[in-house]
Symmetry: C2
Subunit: 215 residues, 2 copies
Amino acid sequence: MARTTGSDGEKTEAAVREAAVSLIARLGYEAMSMRQLAAEVGVQAAALYRYFPTKEDLLFTLMREHMAGLIEAWDAARPAAADPATRLAAYVENHIAFHIERRHSTHVSNMELRSLSHDRLTQILKLRTAYEKELRVILRDGAEAGVFDVEDTGLTAMALIQMMTGVIVWFRPGERLSISEVTATYLSMTMRLVGAKAHGGTTTCSAAAGEQRTL
Amino acid sequence: MARTTGSDGEKTEAAVREAAVSLIARLGYEAMSMRQLAAEVGVQAAALYRYFPTKEDLLFTLMREHMAGLIEAWDAARPAAADPATRLAAYVENHIAFHIERRHSTHVSNMELRSLSHDRLTQILKLRTAYEKELRVILRDGAEAGVFDVEDTGLTAMALIQMMTGVIVWFRPGERLSISEVTATYLSMTMRLVGAKAHGGTTTCSAAAGEQRTL
DNA sequence: GAATTAATTGAACGTTCGTTTTATTATCCG
DNA sequence: CGGATAATAAAACGAACGTTCAATTAATTC
């Protein structure tokens, strides 16, 4: 047999992407076979190669679009011109919302980097670095303005990102906590961690602690 | 040929373990072939099966011993009976020291869980939960004693552990920061995050950073 | 120094992998 | 309605996989 009734390239490609994200997140890139993926889509393995020339191309596409989506989401959510605390809050909220919403895709982009070729790894890391830099800038601005108390901007940014991204490890929608509850708690932990002076009230944390080093 | 001069079962097994941790951390469990591992050890693939009946047995052994080592390290480092802040500081210091020291093995234990059978996954997760519970107890004690300000003990524990474990992603020994600098910064971030009242002083959480025990 | 045991090799097994090729059918366009 | 093209199936490719087995040699024991 050959072309099946009702077959449509766009729909098939979208189905492949979706199934691939789910399968790779669950089994891992190396453990997922192209035949398994094809079966999930309801197609023969050879049909996949109409849309993605190699298995690695498929992985790279998924990762690139995940990172692009993350940056896009932040571009849409970032406050125009605001104080560091407001910008930090927006960053935290966007980060957590995005990562909870795209748990599988985040899993893939974080765990399967080693399966990329050198060049493609570099491309993905460049996107990631650009996204992380946004947070470092916020922290630096806040530290310079004296509203944050941060010892080391780069280290703090990494710590915050790992803390926030880690939410996908344990969070399951519909369980004990809602997304907004989780976000609120992470937001308050973040503000304490960076020693943010309360939005108008007295100081919560800070005082001593040395001058900050720039990265 | 057959047995080689100077061959010794114990030494070979140790070499296999060491090479396996390094290779799996670098390539991933699925991507590492038994022939690759054997070549790294300087032996034929068949020789590996003298020590580990299957590839998964090898992985499981590495993980089990990693988790056992972590719990053992904490048992040795835990303060006998102390206030929550001191215990939390000890937990953070032990956690970071252990994870930096055993970066590769941590990578394996955190990233390759999905390659375990159901039973073995359960065993590893049981160990991990037991270790994490130690932190939750510290946080709860501190919250009940009024020396910590924690909204949600479980969530805070997960956030802290992910933040601390994340150090292995970016930390490289001999670069910008020393282990003790990193530990000190993480300790101060932790104390602020949990809203710790200073050890004996009057205010501010970041003061805890100054009082730092050596690693 | 012979018998036994420990450690390893080299070759092979069947399976599965990613991928390619070729043929076949549905759909679209005139 | 008929030719072009898009979408797939079916079968096959060589390579690599985890693993097993028999043969062989080093070390140990008596």
